[in-house]
Subunit: 360 residues, 2 copies
């Protein structure tokens, strides 16, 4: 079995490594030999705008998928001419536009922050009237990890922020007061089979995921979120992993973002679940039976950002698992992560602090 993958970052790398034991070879497009995925798997030369290579990828693949949500829709459509594509082009497209994403969530009955579409100057006034302060102005397209978005506290700041975004079509979102951020990762396979990991609790720093602790044990929230993801996945006849990030507020869960792919907040599943999100994504897109999402204790995941610590400092901590993506250091860049498991949440949190100390 061979899976063609658009994009060649760390998510692709971890998908490829999950595939090998199953006899699944991945082949990538969208990076060089030195990309995180290119280091561990076969990669075609060229970019995602190279139709000849998109055709070549599809021709060699049983199924084509993608590992980042800003893959051009055109590229995925081109690949779809030569092989089945999962998740569907429609699911990808919906997640690429923050306004469409909000509409999709609302139409599925999933709460979101209040919002105002901003496409002309007059919309800024509407945003102030409807949302108050602070609010968050985000470009509708090509944003991730807090890029292309600004928190604003006044009319002047809002106008300045929109100018900074070059007045591209944007969306203003009302501020959501939350106690914590959680995410749910689900997977859907052939014939509508679904499986869900437990909710994960995430901490972001400067818009970038810093830590995840899982499971976040709240059976009612879990059921609610699973029902929502099921509704979204059924709508697209979805195959593969889908992630939704939520704010947990006094009034329950409020959806923040959809990612039609494996997700940083699910990296703990490599060690912490019976089947990792990466393996289940492959099983889902290939139509193989989904694997168990049962957990193995309580997991804590720490992202390694900007600088790789001395591996010895991490590996000395009992049960600490290092994941190095093979990337060059750069400020704000995710270079790797580490995960450890403990029998209880309290112990996992304590070990997470130990990890933090060892890596700074």
């Amino acid at each position: 079995m061979r899976v063609g993958i658009l994009g060649a970052g760390q998510l692709g790398r971890m998908i490829a490594l999950a595939g090998y034991p199953l006899g699944i070879d991945c082949i990538f497009l969208g990076g060089g030999q030195d990309s995180p995925a290119g280091q561990v798997s076969r990669i075609l030369p060229g970019g995602l705008d190279d139709n000849a290579q998109l055709d070549a990828l599809a021709a060699q693949s049983d199924v084509v998928t993608f590992e980042f949500e800003n893959v051009p829709v055109d590229a995925l459509q081109r690949a779809a001419g030569g092989a089945p594509v999962h998740p569907s082009v429609d699911a990808l497209a919906a997640g690429q536009d923050r306004l469409e994403e909000k509409r999709l969530l609302r139409s599925a009955g999933i709460p979101t922050a209040p919002y105002v579409a901003v496409s002309e100057a007059a919309d800024l006034g509407r945003a102030e009237a409807k949302l108050g302060w602070p609010q968050v102005l985000k470009a509708r397209r090509l944003g991730y990890d807090g890029k292309s978005q600004r928190i604003v506290h006044s009319t002047a700041e809002l106008a300045a922020a929109w100018s900074e975004l070059n007045r591209v079509p944007s969306i203003a979102e009302g501020w959501v007061r939350f106690e914590r951020e959680v995410s749910l990762i689900g997977v859907r396979g052939a014939g509508g089979q679904t499986a869900f990991y437990p909710l994960s609790e995430n901490v972001h720093t400067q818009g970038i995921l810093s830590t995840t602790v899982a499971p976040y044990d709240d059976p009612d929230l879990q059921l609610t979120a699973e029902a929502w993801l099921s509704a979204l996945m059924n709508r697209f006849d979805y195959r593969g992993v889908l992630t939704v990030e939520f704010f947990h507020t006094d009034a329950g869960l409020v959806a923040n973002e959809i990612a039609p792919r494996v997700h940083n907040s699910g990296h703990w599943t490599i060690e912490g679940a019976e089947t990792s999100q990466f393996e289940n994504h492959l099983r889902g897109v290939l139509g193989l039976p989904l694997g168990s999402t049962a957990t193995r204790g309580h997991a804590a995941m720490l992202n390694l950002i900007a600088r790789m610590p001395d591996p010895t400092a991490i590996l000395t901590i009992p049960g600490a698992h290092l994941h190095d993506y093979g990337k060059q250091p750069r400020p704000g860049r995710k270079l790797g992560h580490c995960t450890l498991l403990r029998p209880t949440r309290t112990e996992a949190l304590k070990a997470l602090n130990q990890l933090k100390s060892a890596t700074t």
Copy 2:
């Protein structure tokens, strides 16, 4: 960090896959692009008798190791001219000669079967007198998986067997009546740090490992075997994984074979232990801290021999993990394995039967 590996089979493949997350790249010599290791990692062209490639491998590696015990000593010595080699050449050499292996075990106080070295016809009479019937005649060199050995029940059979072995230097071993076969896998790192997995219980069919169930829980046997492996490893200032296979008899453990490498009876550690034997081998040879060998429940491993079953049949079983080595089918050939974990030994044995049914 880069590790050069002599040999390119499934053991190498699983070492390479264990290395990637740690930022360790492996580079192989001794197989083609289509070998199990060559499919997932960089491999140099040429064989183990190619001094130029041995030099190139060593020049690119922080440390050189090997993944099968019949690597020519000359090749390892050549590589040792360019990079540190672990485990040591002496440890490799000792395991390649069944007579030297027996002497080594005895000298470390480790019980073995009674034996007689067979190098001339007169030795056959000595074997009959000392060992009785049945006995096992084995070539001293290049035997594994029951190859190059014969069970014999009479003077005539012994003579015929030695003729079949082309009268190469051999060893006759007295028959050991055993209740079960177990193995111990240990790892030794820099500064003499050691770690041991629990004893594994193995079933061989026609000389080839068929199943492993672990842990085999017997604290006294465990301590005894650990002390023996420690003695062996200390003697060679050993770095990396060492495996000893034992017969468990009425009188306790009797050592059968030493393998100075990761071992088929330790494949369950990928899912069943906090750190796999493959990762710990890399940690050991590179001088990184060893990882925890704590278990995650009871593991059952089934080898997939001669024919790969439909993966769907395996993946449907809850928690079953498939490992496909990417090899062409052939009678008697190990093509892959599968492992599952259960909370108790009884459940693991039951699930193993389910696995067997699903794969035949």
